[in-house]
Amino acid sequence: MTQSETPGGAEEKLTQTSGLAVAAIVLLVMLLGSVGADIAAKVGTRIVTQENWTDVLNAFLIALLVNSPALIFIGVLGDFAGLFSRTSEGEVFTRRNLKTLRSAGIGLVWAAATSAIVVPTVLSWVQESGRGILWEVNDLAFGTGAMGFVILGLTHVFAEGIRIKTDSDQII
């Protein structure tokens, strides 16, 4: 397969995406720390009060459930870090990057759905305050879901970019 030359200036812009990769990793670590601290605080309280192991396990699972949108978001940040890192190395319009972008979009939609539906519903079941499906669509969940759909839409543009690049690579 041939390698088309990068137009002047574009190469410099590509290397700048390595900064975005670093920023994504920093955010990922910060979010991971925040989630870890939250889970540790909730579980730690149960351990300190010396409750039995089932209560500790329940506290851990509930803390995990409450933090699940953030955990999904950590995965999305990981996707973006990988995407920006590969882009900085000149690997832009590839199937792998398309897959990563799609994964990030789906992740954001899942984070929104988890935050707005799954967490309130399961919490209501666990706390036995309800049996139905609860919707708590706030601005943040709505925005996150919308961004997810926007990214999923952009994957179609990206796929067209890959097709054009493949064609371009076959012209020498």
Binding site: T2, D167, Q170, I171, I172
Partner: protein, 75 residues
Amino acid sequence: MPRDIIVTLDVMLARRKMKAKDLAAAIGITEANLSLIRSGKVKGVRFETLGKLCEALDCKPGDLLDFDVVTSPNP
């Protein structure tokens, strides 16, 4: 019978008694890309590349390309 563009670069290389490696170096493309052009396994050739080929081989584009019946290579 289907007719298509045929690359006759090999013929011109033989006429000029030039090696593909030397031609690739002269026009500034990789041997792999030159091999793809020679075998016709490309969707197109840029005018810029065609011009460089003509200059290096001292010929015209018509000397490098033909339009004829394509014989499929043996599997």
